[in-house]
């Protein structure tokens, strides 16, 4: 128990979480602190490149785990299935119409790379190793959820699929960068790592702080502007769904026999909600859905929930499930 508390406080009092809180407070207090759009995008390019590269290097180092293929498949399956769960839950818990419910549901099958990073940080800090390929699993989980959401909506009317859209979803900048950097890390291995470690390794946590500061600013601005339009049911969904998702991730990880670290990361991936790739796709494919609902829910409710309490909970659950507590 005291272990769980120390875990929670260690997480809450880390510079990255506090940076997020600073951004959130600044935006709620209507400070004019903002990041230039170009700087925010540059930070995200850095983070995706670094995390992808490190994953690839780790796979090059430890060799290909027999479970890699199975875990990738599990990731695709989780991403594809969770939107259906989310959709059903939303129709139950909230008064969102089909379209908005489907749009929101798509976000919860997909992933948030920063939540993944926050989880990885906590693991690193506690000295818990994880499979290096989990970042590849993150990459494959981005897209399937979008297709599920489109399918849900298409059932009720005209098809939402077109070839252009499919290409855009699969060749989305963040997927390409993550997978590409993963490949480069894999190919160049420890040699490559040595060359660029001082750029992508050591300063990583600090860059993550600035990025989370920016996320806090955006989440705060979103909350300030659209708080009113989210009903209680929708907000509750934003907290229940990640818990459900993490359980699904835990189940999958147990079946796959992942390590403790890998289990926690898969739980996090299943629990988190996209706020970059999926919203952009939704604007194109479901323009009638209200972005202020899905963006605020994902970035203003689920993201902070996961950061602050979700990740420690998933950590503790994984320990319990493995009889480690």
């Amino acid at each position: 128990m005291s272990d769980i508390l120390s875990l929670a406080s260690e997480n809450l009092l880390s510079p990255i979480i506090l940076s997020f809180v600073l951004g959130l407070l600044a935006a709620l207090a209507r400070s004019d602190l903002t990041f230039p759009e170009a700087a925010a995008k540059a930070l995200s390019i850095y983070l995706l490149f670094a995390i992808g590269f490190k994953g690839g290097v780790s796979v090059a180092g430890h060799g290909l785990d027999a479970t890699l293929g199975a875990t990738l498949l599990a990731g695709v399956a989780l991403s594809a299935v969770l939107p259906f769960v989310a959709f059903a839950l939303l129709r139950l818990m909230s008064r969102l119409d089909r379209l908005n419910a489907a749009a929101v549901a798509g976000h919860y099958g997909s992933i948030s790379i920063v939540t993944f990073l926050a989880g990885s940080s906590l693991l690193a800090q506690r000295g818990v190793d994880a499979e290096g390929y989990m970042v590849a699993v993150a990459a494959v989980m981005e897209a399937p959820a979008i297709l599920s959401a489109l399918w849900i909506v298409s059932r009720g009317g005209e098809s939402r699929f077109d070839a252009n859209l499919l290409r855009e979803i699969l060749l989305n900048g963040s997927i390409v960068l993550l997978v590409g950097a993963f490949a480069i890390g894999w190919i160049t291995g420890q040699d490559g790592m040595q060359k660029i470690q001082p750029f992508i390794g050591a300063p990583f946590q600090g860059v993550l702080c600035l990025f989370l500061l920016d996320m806090g600013l955006i989440a705060g601005r979103g909350l300030r502007r659209t708080r009113a339009s989210l009903g209680m049911g929708v907000i509750a969904f934003g907290i229940v769904m990640p818990l459900l998702g993490s359980l699904a991730g835990l189940g999958a990880a147990s079946l796959l026999g992942l390590s403790l670290g890998g289990t926690i990361l898969l739980m996090i991936l299943a629990a988190c909600a996209s706020y970059i790739a999926v919203p952009a796709a939704m604007r194109v494919a479901m323009p009638e859905a209200d972005p202020s609902i899905y963006l605020t829910l994902s970035l203003g409710v689920t993201f902070p929930f996961n950061l602050a309490v979700g990740i420690p909970i998933y950590y503790a659950l994984a320990l319990v499930a493995r009889g480690g507590f």
């Binding site: 995200s44 970059i276 604007r283 194109v284």
Partner: protein
């Protein structure tokens, strides 16, 4: 200095639709346009700002196209198909241009 009569069309549209509008213009034979960035704004769906945004979803862009009056309808048709279900503010105004042979 002599100017020639033309139409100036501006289209404010969501950034994720940018490529599609470019392609629609291409198909409609509209090859002259310029895209300017947008910082923020306000509409029926509330206020927004691009500051600090990482993805495309938050942003918009503005297309400006100067065309010969007789080509206006082709352009508007192409644009309308796209903006029909989307955010998209389309304005048309009269203007004079130098070097009409370029349009």
């Amino acid at each position: 200095m002599k100017t020639h009569h033309a139409k100036r069309v501006t289209i404010i549209i969501e950034a994720p639709m940018r490529r599609r509008l470019e392609e629609a213009f291409g198909k409609a034979g509209v090859t002259g346009y310029t895209i300017v960035p947008v910082l923020g704004g306000s509409g029926r769906s509330g206020r927004w700002s691009s500051e600090g945004q990482v993805g495309l979803s938050g942003g918009m862009v503005q297309f400006v196209s100067v065309i010969r009056p007789d080509r206006l309808d082709a352009l508007l048709d192409a644009a309308f198909d796209l903006v029909e279900n989307h955010i998209g503010v389309v304005t048309v105004s009269d203007c004079g241009v130098l070097r009409a042979e370029r349009f």
